[in-house]
């Protein structure tokens, strides 16, 4: 018998992968960047900025401008953050 094939895939059920997650980035008393979640929980302090780059895209419709940086948090955890240069908001994202 032929196993029934999968039901057709509907495009309205597409889910984005690796969407940016909103984070907060602030300078603490000691002048170091501190990354936190929108609910107020702290993720960690930035120990070092390992790399930074910028993406400017889609200037012909809704312009996108992002300043990315790969940072190392205290304890050695690595993270990629970017600041939306149009709205000023910070996000975390896998590279």
């Amino acid at each position: 018998m032929v196993a029934p094939a999968r039901a057709p895939l509907r495009t309205d059920r597409l889910r984005a992968v690796n969407e940016p997650r909103a984070v907060t980035v602030e300078l603490n008393e000691s002048g170091r960047m501190s990354v936190g979640r929108p609910d107020g929980q702290t993720v960690g302090e930035v120990e070092a900025i390992l790399e930074s780059w910028r993406i400017d895209d889609e200037w012909w419709r809704q312009p996108i401008a992002r300043a990315y940086m790969e940072v190392m948090l205290e304890g050695g955890k690595r993270m990629v953050l970017f600041q939306d240069l149009i709205t000023g908001q910070w996000f975390a994202q896998m590279p």
Binding site: V2, A5, R6, P8, R10, T11, R15, V17, N18
Partner: protein, 419 residues
């Protein structure tokens, strides 16, 4: 060896977009939506597109993101090549009931040799009717049939026929029929097609009006063949496939074996060996026989040794080239009615075969492809199991959307996996 079957008079059976039709046949209501089938390779591009999707501007070869951009209601379908092969094999088997000369060309395109069928079925119209009846009901409204001397004429006739209709080109009228056909019906590449159009040649008649030598000088051997096809000078016969002789694999045990596990193990070895036989390539096993020579025993106390044997015949409902599927019914027989003594020699015979297709060579014929098909089956089974246990299984496929995008979230997407 069997005689090679040929027929100069050909009927062409063409079901356009055969894989898509297979999907529509098993998913009720699918035909009322714009639909696209993804390519079976890893490119994740569109392979076949329904007419509704085509109206929305979606074309084969597009990426998923391009297609969705043009048609947001588009339904994407993962391909199931093994299923299409099985459906096509079923069509070939059904056509084999009408004529012994059946030549598969590609999925959905078959030539049937009709020489001599007038004596059995009657007029060409009646033969065409008989062929039409072999097509599964869901395809009868889309199948196109062509009739003529040689495969090319039959193909052109089928390609010009309306859905569910047939065009019969009577013998001797091939040139007249072909003359008015566009050059696109010729098997030519894009470059030659462009050059012919640049020369103002739009029909086969216009091509034939040029001397053969001039076409050969311009396009070489390819041009010569095209000219001869257009002029109706080449009438390739339909060539039926010769059914292979039975394939036999045998194993003689050093000491007679009575343990069921050992016999099952030996059976698996024999199946693997028989499947690897070169004659099996391109064919699926339809019927098989397993027999055993049993240890000589004393019968009736007269001390005279008597040869004993054991045998089972199995006819597979769905012909297959998959070792597990072949083994399953034989193992059941071994379990239910085992040999009545220790086995000295175990012999497996594949006695009947069903044809495969060209695509089968790509998807299911070789060991790698069979393994891939097995993996997919196992995956579907596992997914169904998970869904049954947790009611809602969050299983997804990762598909490429814009893998070249600089924005990480645009590169891939998840889509529901529903086995």
């Amino acid at each position: 060896m069997s005689r090679r079957l040929t027929s100069s008079l050909a009927a062409c059976v063409w079901i356009p977009l055969f894989p898509l039709r297979c999907e529509e046949a098993r998913h009720e209501g699918l035909s009322s939506y714009p639909t696209a089938l993804l390519a079976p390779d890893t490119t994740r591009k569109l392979w076949q597109v329904s007419s509704l999707a085509r109206h929305a501007g979606v074309k084969p070869g597009m990426t998923v993101s391009q297609a969705i951009g043009l048609c947001s209601t588009l339904r994407l379908i993962e391909p199931d090549p093994v299923h299409y092969d099985e459906q096509f094999t079923a069509l070939l088997s059904a056509l084999g009931e009408v004529s012994p000369v059946v030549e598969p060309s590609e999925l959905g395109l078959v030539y049937v040799g009709v020489d001599g069928l007038e004596g059995i079925c009657g007029s060409p119209q009646k033969i065409i009717q008989a062929i039409h009846q072999t097509v599964r009901p869901s395809d009868r409204s889309t199948v196109r049939l062509g009739w003529g001397v040689g495969k090319f004429t039959a193909w052109v006739a089928a390609s010009r026929a309306k859905p569910s209709e047939a065009i019969v080109v009577p013998g001797g009228e091939e040139q007249k029929f072909l003359a008015s056909q566009p050059i696109a019906v010729l098997p030519l590449d894009v470059d030659i097609h462009r050059r012919l159009r640049q020369l103002g040649i739009r029909t086969l008649g216009a091509l034939v009006a040029i001397p053969e030598a001039a076409v050969t000088a311009q396009f070489g051997d390819v041009g010569k063949r095209l000219w001869q096809l257009a002029a109706g000078r080449i009438a390739e016969p339909v060539e039926g496939r010769v059914t292979p002789e039975p394939i036999v694999a045998a194993l003689t045990f050093f000491t007679p074996v009575g343990e069921r596990e050992l016999l099952v193990h030996a059976l698996e070895q024999l199946i693997a060996r028989a499947l690897r036989h070169p004659r099996r390539i391109g064919w699926r096993v339809h019927a098989m026989r397993l027999r055993a020579d049993l240890e000589c025993g004393d019968v009736g106390g007269d001390r005279s040794p008597t040869n004993r044997s054991w045998m089972v015949n199995v006819l597979l409902k769905d012909p297959t080239a998959d070792g597990d599927r072949i083994a399953a019914p034989l193992k059941v027989r071994l379990e239910q009615s085992p040999p009545t003594g220790a086995v000295e020699r175990l012999v497996l015979e594949f006695t009947a075969f069903a044809p495969g297709t060209t695509e089968l060579q790509l998807f299911a014929r070789d060991a790698q492809a069979a393994a891939r098909a097995g993996q997919q089956r196992a995956l579907r089974h596992a997914a169904r199991e998970v869904r049954m246990r947790v009611k809602r299984a969050n299983l997804y496929h990762v598909i490429e959307v814009q893998p070249w995008s600089r924005l990480p979230e645009r590169r891939y997407a998840l889509i529901d996996y529903e086995p």
